[in-house]
Symmetry: C2
Subunit: 180 residues, 2 copies
């Protein structure tokens, strides 16, 4: 006992500033995008990602687990959200033919209309809030930085199906609004 713990490596001024800024972005940017979607289309960003993910998936169909991964959400959160989307007629669910444990979420025609209506405004907001203020090389840089950080970040335990990750997006989108 009485083991001396190592002096913490504090952040340099540059790092501290970058971190404070990043913290601000992580809070305010999603809030701004959520506000736009909610106001114009009555959707949360999470709901939009669900519908958008399905719109890009083969046969507009995706297993709940894959969809959870795609949306960066827990399976239980997704389950709740999909239930509500189903009540709104935007999605339906059925067990996968090949294995009854898997549940497929399927975009309905009405769900398609919802994404299609929401996509332009959302993409416009993303463009205005992010890419319009960045130089092209900053976009590249942002992508690389994000990739590195994300690769170092395991899914917040209790999310996710252990086995097959990322079946989504491994083929090309059948059609628009595959935009995010």
């Amino acid at each position: 006992m009485n083991q001396q713990q190592p002096e913490p490596r504090w952040l340099s001024p540059d790092e501290l500033r970058a971190w404070m800024t990043l913290a601000g972005v992580m809070v305010r940017l999603p809030a701004a995008l959520d506000a736009q979607l909610q106001r114009d289309n009555g959707l949360s960003m999470f709901e939009y990602f669900v519908l958008s993910g399905l719109s890009m998936a083969e046969n507009h169909t995706s297993r709940m687990s894959d969809l959870a991964e795609f949306t960066n959400g827990s399976l239980s959160r997704l389950s709740n959200v999909v239930k509500r989307l189903e009540q709104r007629g935007a999605v339906r669910r059925e067990p996968a033919p090949e294995n009854g444990r898997y549940i497929n979420a399927i975009l309905t025609a009405h769900g398609w209309d919802l994404v299609e209506a929401a996509a332009p405004g959302h993409v416009e907001a993303v463009r205005r809030l992010i890419f319009d203020v960045l130089a092209p090389e900053q976009v590249t840089s942002l992508g690389e930085i994000g990739d590195r950080v994300l690769a170092n970040l395991e899914p917040p335990s209790a999310w996710l199906s252990p086995s097959n990750a990322g079946a989504l997006l491994e083929h090309d989108p059948p059609a628009p609004p595959g935009q995010a």
Copy 2:
């Protein structure tokens, strides 16, 4: 009527990838940092920012509005959180002497102990999850990118006191753990 709406400017493949990555980071990074603080110190990141902000403020004191700005939170959220922190004995509140409309939040000795205990682990997590995987020039780049995006982002309406913004951090920190 029948006004033709402009064809939406979709995202380029690079932009789309950057945005998907960023979306992942915005969800998973806060979750990871929250998990560390919760597990090791029983604090949410928001609570930590509150205590940390006070620890850096003059006399360990800050107006509720300034603190809300600093923490990127709504005044009402802050009010609820500070109430709980007060019940835990980490903070106390009193009206500002010069103007009874202003409420000052003040860090207690116990609150100081809490931040001091939590800071090393939190900073270590920030370092491990972000700066350890980035080259120095990427840190610079991240800071610039974040600044641009943030500058373009007004506070989500209903947050914030209209007048005096950012009284916090305009003087130098009295002491550690001023490390965010």
